[in-house]
Amino acid sequence: MQFWIIQTLNSIAFGGLLFLLSSGFSLAFGLMRIPNLAHGGFFMLGAYLGATIVYYGGHFWIAVLGAGLGVGLVGIAFERLILRRLAGNVQGQVLVTLGVSFIIADLCLLIWTGDPWTVPAPAELRPPLRVAGFAFPTFRLVVLAIALVTAVALYLLMDRTRLGAMIRAGVDDMEMARGVGIPVSLLFTVVFALGAVLAGLGGTLGAPMLNAYPGLDTDMLPLALIVVILGGAGSLLGAFVGSFVVGFLYNFGIALFPDLAYFILFLPMVLVLVFRPQGLFGRVQT
């Protein structure tokens, strides 16, 4: 019983983390029509930045904010200085995001070495929460709560503001959005930066569970891709549902059928690609 409850909770918490990783990734994918293959690198960079801040005595929550800010700046610079120059050249843009992901990986190896950096959860969240005789990992519940608050905030931004409507208009019909005067280049920067900030935050938030290590980027990027393919590029609801589906498949797959974990993870993605290529909630063909 305790196994199932804990695995379920871990799956949900991991799903929350995946939402932080993939929501911005999905919005940028839907709007700019390219997968940012450096997004896993953004997540890893966030984890290392957070680990460093904690190492030098910063509080965990300061580290989370610092990582979000730092990776956000990297994202803005990348979009403004590099991606923008390749506007209209989709293939070039995708290749450049791949190149940047390698550069980030190498720089991280150079700066933070090959040894993993552990980040302890904040002291006040380490004791488990005891409810009805069960012990719940408090920190994971907090990660989940942060993911849910982020989901609500993103929903309000996308659904209730003019900025959000402009972003959705760009996802629907980019050319026509420009034709009615929507400043899409500004939207690109906003959405790309938002994705980078969330990936950075997520990297540090996930570090007490995952650590920061070389290869964290390539471990996370496929998960974000699966989430987006399942949910549909540019769909916030899709990213939300997809994140929790992948969270469950990943956790239970590893716990119950470790040899088949990747099969279990990728099979739904293949099925969706074959039978509903726009994703469960999406409109854009990825």
């Binding site: 409507a165 959705r168 208009a169 629907d172 050319e175 034709g179 009615v180 005067g181 929507i182 409109r283």
Partner: protein
């Protein structure tokens, strides 16, 4: 000496290597309606796309009340006051009716179009303002596409086949709306396959064929010129 609202001079537009517009030129005077006619594939939509900045002309000039706009980005051209009702309507399907209008809002000193005015022009849109645009009927989507263009407070309004695929009664309604906009002094380019509708509304007519202007004159001259109509529009 810019008396023209919109002037297109000798533009050449390509899709990649495919040369589609060959020195197309025409002028729209302020407050007038210019009908742009031609068979399917003649280059009318390409012409609208070039004016709107979706395509960049390789040669030629496009001026809006004397200011050069060729080569600007579409969003900059929209900001200066060229607004498009595109062929196929192209409403933002996953936005509500109200959001479609809202995202296209463009403040301009001499502009008077607001959400309220668009809603009073199209009461149907007001009734359905929270509905997703993708769920509207064809006629309603056309009204929305027109309303969206008006929200940009156009100095020149481009309309690309607004009657396409609509029931006769709705076509009639769209025609009335266009007449009303013209009566308010708006300068309009109307692209149509519906010759009667165009001749009823237009002051001037330009006919294109295989990417070049083959006739231009007043609507009255066009109406009485059976040879031109038969040769280039292939009807009657």
């Amino acid at each position: 000496m810019a008396t023209e609202a919109l002037s297109v001079s000798a533009i050449d537009t390509y899709y990649g290597d495919s040369h589609v517009l060959h020195g197309v030129g025409f002028a729209l005077r302020p407050g007038r309606l210019l009908g742009l006619l031609g068979r399917n594939g003649a280059g009318k939509t390409t012409c609208m796309a070039t004016i709107m900045g979706f395509l960049r002309p390789r040669r030629g000039a496009i001026t809006l009340f004397g200011d050069e706009v060729a080569g600007l980005a579409p969003e900059a051209i929209a900001k200066r006051g060229i607004c498009l009702v595109p062929q196929g309507r192209r409403v933002f399907r996953s936005l509500s009716v109200r959001e479609n209008l809202d995202v296209a809002r463009q403040a301009r000193a001499q502009g008077t179009w607001t959400l309220e005015r668009v809603f009073s022009l199209f009461p149907r849109l007001k009734e359905r303002h929270i509905q997703l645009a993708g769920s509207l009927s064809g006629g309603e989507q056309q009204m929305l596409a027109i309303g969206r263009a008006l929200m940009g407070n156009p100095r020149v309004l481009l309309m690309d086949e607004p009657s396409e695929g609509l029931a006769p009664q709705i076509v009639h309604e769209v025609g009335r709306t266009i007449a009303q906009l013209k009566a308010e002094g708006l300068s309009i380019v109307l692209v149509e396959q519906n010759i009667k509708l165009t001749l009823d509304l237009a002051d001037d007519v330009v006919i294109v064929n295989t990417g070049a202007v083959v006739f231009s004159g007043t609507a009255a001259e066009t109406r009485t010129n059976d040879r031109v109509i038969a040769q280039h529009l292939g009807v009657f």
